[in-house]
């Protein structure tokens, strides 16, 4: 595996963490997410979209902060199961969140990619960012009920 070894969080169990400092780390994070998604029972199309979300979030980290981390874990809500992914960095932060979340603000989002694009691929999307204090994006994708596997 390239740089960015998977690490297991202090609470043990199913959490994976990837340092993101270069493109090779994106690949590792994608790989981890794909495995986790596959284990949960997401279908091919959905695992592709999850890998897409990782790529776009990771690209943002590299482009605006230079380095950061992506963590992922199984999420449980009532009868539902899903995947939760958090992308964090200590970069310059986003001064104008509303603008950044609008299509057309940057080259990526003008095409529907970037943060606005990721938002449309997932079920839950939260972003916290302030100029000067880094950015955190947390996304969740729930498994369609028919695909849930007994855990």
């Amino acid at each position: 595996m390239h740089g960015g070894w998977p690490q297991y969080a202090a609470d043990g169990g199913e959490s994976l963490r990837y340092e993101i400092a270069g493109e090779a780390d994106l690949v590792a994070a994608r790989d981890g997410a794909r495995r986790l998604a596959g284990q949960l029972g997401f279908a091919l199309g959905e695992t592709t979209l999850i890998a897409t979300a990782i790529t776009e979030l990771g690209r943002n980290i590299l482009m605006y902060a230079g380095a950061g981390e992506i963590t992922m874990s199984v999420s449980r809500g009532g009868l539902r199961q899903g995947l939760e992914i958090t992308a964090r960095d200590r970069g310059p932060g986003i001064g104008n969140l509303r603008q950044a979340l609008q299509d057309g603000y940057s080259t990526s989002s003008g095409l529907g990619l970037g943060l606005p694009g990721v938002r449309r691929l997932v079920d839950e999307f939260t972003i916290t960012s302030e100029a000067g204090s880094g950015t955190q994006v947390r996304i969740k994708k729930w498994l369609p009920v028919r695909q849930q596997r007994a855990s």
Binding site: L44, L49, A51, T52, T55, L111, G112, L113
Partner: protein, 331 residues
Amino acid sequence: MSPTLQAVADWKQEYAECLERHVQAAAGVRLAPAPQEEDRLERAYELGRRCLAGGQGLVELAAWHRQALRHCGGAVAGGPGADAAAQFLCEALAPFEMTHRGFAEAKLMLRRLHELIENEARRIARSLHDGAGQLLAAVHLQLDLLAAELPAEAREGIQSSRQLLDQVEAQLRDLAHELRPALLDHFGLVPALRALAEGYSQRGGMDVTVTASLGRRLSPAVEAALYRIVQEALINVHKHAQAGQVEIEVRDLGDAVFCRVHDDGAGFDPENLATGAGLGLYSMRERADALGGRAEIRSAPGEGTSVEVAIPAGGNGAAAGVGAPGCGGEG
């Protein structure tokens, strides 16, 4: 910035090479995926993303895939190679999915925006009518009382004030009507169009006729859109066309409603449009498009102009009698 032909050819080549590597690796692997697989899938994503950014279409990309697959050793139908090829394509198309969802969302927003505009217009029209209208009535009353106190010669001054007030009242009524005709809400599209036509015939120096075969109400959004499109078309005719005769036609097509505004005026060259007029036509298309319909403008210099629009109407709206030709009165 458009890519050069060479750049596009290079991308196509790169896609084919990456696909082949991926397929062959898959065809030769028997155990769990090797780490390098994600590398190749990420490459597929990047290729797709670059195509999207460069304006290469989705179908084009799929066509490259099909061509490249033919020359791929190891892409045996049903085998791991074929499976891998499908996944590769999936990754390359993923960026397009985000864009597609963006468009769907934008269309929804546009529809909401139009609703908001109509509601605002309705609110303003109502307060013009109620608020200002009542104030004017009160002024009239005061003038009457004043006139009673004054000697005869002075009363003439009052009379001219009254006339000015009447003009203000008429302008307010026209404005309110233009903003949001009560007819449209209460009686529907055709009566509102007849009133619109009547107004232009009386004051616009054109002969505007309405032929309609619509015997039911439509959803408010569809009625508003069609009304606004015809309204815009008539404004254009009045401003640019020097037309004598304008025909408005409304036809019920069952699952859709068709509307045409045809004038016998000067016509124009659609290729050669001044920005102002262009915006009007653009907004007509947007209104129709937001509801899943289409608007087209046909014209040529010296041959008049036709604005044609069709909007899906579903089974909405209870059947209603087509109202009597509107007389412009407000509710």
